[in-house]
């Protein structure tokens, strides 16, 4: 499997995702070209404890909310987390 076809990401996780992962980051591999939606898929596959949350998970790329089709590049800061509950 040539590395050029995959991107390894340390995805920041927060809230219940962090609690379920048991760490600050989830390490995943996604095929390129990758999108925000593909990162969610990869996280839920490689961390099955997150799968029940899949439909609600949000992605941020470089500290901005990312639509499903947002392309992910090497070097991007990617985060996955559940709906927000501040206030």
């Amino acid at each position: 499997m040539p590395t050029v076809d995959h991107l390894s990401l340390n995805v920041l996780v927060f809230g219940q995702c962090r609690a379920l992962v048991g760490a600050d980051t989830a390490s995943v591999r996604v095929t390129v070209p990758a999108t925000a939606a593909a990162v969610v898929e990869a996280v839920c596959e490689q961390y099955p404890q997150l799968a029940p949350l899949r439909a609600s998970l949000l992605v941020a790329v470089n500290e901005e909310y990312a639509p499903n089709d947002m392309p992910i590049q090497a070097g991007d800061t990617v985060a996955v987390f559940p709906p927000i509950a501040g206030g």
């Binding site: 927060f14 809230g15 219940q16 949000l58 941020a60 985060a79 927000i84 501040g86 206030g87």
Partner: protein, 152 residues
């Protein structure tokens, strides 16, 4: 506690208790005639279940970026807004502690009220923060909302 932004707004995440009076004192300048303040405080119950404490967690750099965006949106909507404070507490909070403080000052009250209300409404729909609520007999992650990217 919080640093002053280039716009003179006070934007902060803090582990320390929020001292609303000192924030208000820092914001009020001579042209101001109206100060509207909102404090979110920890309630003693969630749908009847007795709350012991809450743990607040943030994606801090993104949360600060989003707080600054909320301030910019408020200024775009209310050019006569004088100053704004948007401060969110993190960590463990007990009943009646302040989790979030919004202060808006303006020459007149309509702007102060509207900017303050806008500030807390936008914080709740834009800033990546989560909370886990602990009861006598268990805990829950408080159900959140999907972000609303554009201001109403």
């Amino acid at each position: 506690m919080p640093d002053t932004e280039p716009s003179d707004d006070l934007i902060a995440l803090t582990q320390a208790p929020i001292d609303a009076p000192s924030i208000v004192r820092r914001l009020v300048r001579p042209p101001v005639g109206a100060v509207a303040t909102f404090e979110g405080v920890v309630r003693d119950n969630l749908r009847g279940r007795r709350t012991r404490y809450l743990d607040y967690e943030a994606y801090a750099p993104m949360a600060l970026r989003m707080l600054r965006r909320v301030a910019a949106e408020a200024r775009a909507k209310h050019p006569d807004l004088d100053r704004l404070a948007l401060i969110h507490r993190l960590g463990r909070l007990r009943v009646s502690e302040t989790s979030v403080l919004v202060v808006a000052t303006a020459p007149h009250r309509a702007t102060a009220f509207e900017a303050c209300r806008f500030g807390i409404d936008r914080i709740k729909t834009l800033v990546p923060i989560w909370k886990r609520e602990y009861f006598e007999d268990g805990d829950v992650w408080v159900e959140g909302v999907r972000p609303m990217l554009d201001p109403p």
